[in-house]
Subunit: 353 residues, 2 copies
């Protein structure tokens, strides 16, 4: 029998904590029965939830702590208060100790990243972390990174993002050579920020058969699925994903308003209800929930703080995929095969503001 | 009788030229009968179109030239080939000579900006131009700038964008004190790029009663209408607007596919058809067509190259509004009242990469 995938959950993370985390884990378990869970948090809050999900209870171990990082703690506060004691820290530490393959938390992003860096440390050759997100496109899904871990960055940083993103997409989408594009304001070679053009040059000249660099992708190309991996620094990436989510939400609201305006429209809506349900499912932000922290020496997945149990289940699914296909090894292979990532890492650190 | 609004049109601009420009102008004329047009381009192509629109013909003068800037000309090529002779140049020059109040072109953006700068020059105190676009939101419309004229920029540049955008929104939306927000990756004060935090500080400290600065706006806030004016440098602005357009297009395609899948859905669609039409109208990118070049000593409006006659008509409408409410004077007032824009302009130019 193959080894089970061991997932450490911060059961206190997110806007509501255990009452979303536990049902979410139970949903993911039905999809991946070969999972085991370590649940970190307040036993008094976890136990009643677990009782409702006997199948989950059977494969879970609860590790009690009454320290929880709040959604409003600054990273420094979270480290000061919660290091070695909070549910968030303990979940990450389980990965470090080799007791879990991946940690999943819906807790606050800054604190999770700070604890991840502090506890797991960075991968050799990587100075700055990234968060990768999944973007539903017309052709399926794409990976976009960085969506907000690191603001700015030089060509070397963008190259590292490309390598890590490619490794993640190959694992997540089961592709040998996922296509990789650099986000830019035009597809012509002379356009855009200098570091982006330099990064394109670096990526074109890499002797790395797994990397399938296709050039620049514009903002409108992401949703078309122009590349499996969209690479950009954290400011543009964060703006992009939030604009896309905002636009989707806005359109859904327009549609709802338009369809409730007249009786004909209401009846039409009732008849087409299943079609709308399919559309909602397709666009449900819960279904692309799960930001993967890249660059750490261990896998940490971040769920939206306001995710529903379904949404949290997707984040757990992402963690499962990343762990069972061994994302970390894949990333290390990519970085090792491109030896230059190591040689020039200090330069990258010096050059960024 | 009040003076008419005089609009100079590059009748050769865009993917198809006169057969979109002329019908588009005719549509706009029905909404603003107090318009006069100068039509620059090939008389042989313009005349047959004008014959179909006698009302437009009656208020138009055709100025023949057989030189046209192509959609693929680089700015330098366009200037070399088309300076003083092309339909694009002549339309802009009509503004400079005071023969027109505004120029509208669907020609290529780079060439139009280069000719605008060369012919009209920049406003005193402004070193770098911007393009402002209109973003349909849940609360109405917002202005976003810069959507791609200038990449990067320091706090002073962002402040100038805020002043120009505020002037434009006050004219376009008839608001005394439009709200102005800086695009950022969080609403907290300590987040984001340094120049954005500095710009926030500058804007907070401005002694300018017309300016209603409300702080940072996230990517998801634009579509909610969090501010009447969204300020960002050209890279993020370009990515944002293209991501929003792309997401809207993608959702429309999902919806169409979902509604044609079953007979029930198809019948539902037929019943709700008017509701969908209202939705499409609301989201039609043609309806937010019209990028306004800011910072030039004259008003130039850019239409999408692939606009339909309806789309081009909206760009003409935008030009009409900008001219009839005297955007340029408003911008100059904003800049003059804030004397510091002049004093520190050279610094702005030096500091940007």
């Amino acid at each position: 029998m193959p080894q089970k995938v061991r997932i450490a959950l911060d059961a206190m993370g997110g806007d509501v904590g255990a009452s979303v985390v536990i049902p979410g884990a139970a949903i993911s378990l039905t999809r991946h029965p070969d999972t085991e869970f370590l649940l970190f948090g307040d036993r008094a809050l976890i136990a009643p939830q677990l009782d409702k999900h006997p199948a989950l209870k059977a494969v879970s171990r609860v590790i009690h702590t009454d320290v929880a990082v709040s959604m409003h703690d600054k990273p420094s506060q979270a480290l000061r208060r919660g290091r070695k004691t909070s549910s968030m820290w303990l979940a990450i530490e389980a990965v470090k100790k080799g007791e879990a393959d991946v940690a999943v938390s819906a807790g606050n992003t800054g604190a999770l990243m700070a604890m991840g860096r502090f506890c797991l440390r960075m991968l050799p050759g990587i100075e700055r972390p990234a968060i990768a997100a999944i973007w539903p496109t017309a052709r399926g899904d794409s990976v976009i990174l960085d969506v907000g871990a690191t603001i700015g960055g030089d060509a070397q940083h963008l190259k590292t993002l490309a390598l890590m993103g490619s490794a993640m997409a190959s694992v997540l989408f089961d592709l040998e050579r996922p296509t990789v594009g650099l986000l830019n304001i035009g597809v012509e070679e002379m356009k855009g920020r200098e570091e982006i053009r330099e990064a394109a040059e670096l990526l074109r000249n890499l002797d790395l058969p797994q990397l399938n660099f296709i050039g620049f992708v514009e903002g409108g190309g992401i949703g078309k699925g122009a590349a499996d991996v969209i690479v950009t620094e954290g400011f543009s990436g964060n703006i992009s994903i939030k604009v896309a989510e905002g636009t989707a939400r806005q359109m859904t609201e327009f549609l709802r308003a338009a369809l409730s305006r007249t009786w004909r429209a209401k009846i039409g809506y009732l008849l087409a209800r299943n079609a709308f349900k399919a559309l909602r499912d397709k666009l449900d932000p819960n279904k692309s929930n799960g930001g993967v922290f890249l660059g750490l020496n261990g896998i940490v997945v971040k769920s939206h703080g306001d995710a529903t149990p379904d949404g949290f289940a997707y984040a757990v699914d992402v963690g499962y995929d990343m762990a069972s296909y061994d994302l970390l090894t894949k990333i290390n292979q990519m970085l090792n095969r491109d030896g230059s990532a190591f040689a020039s890492a200090p330069t990258a650190q010096e050059a960024v503001s």
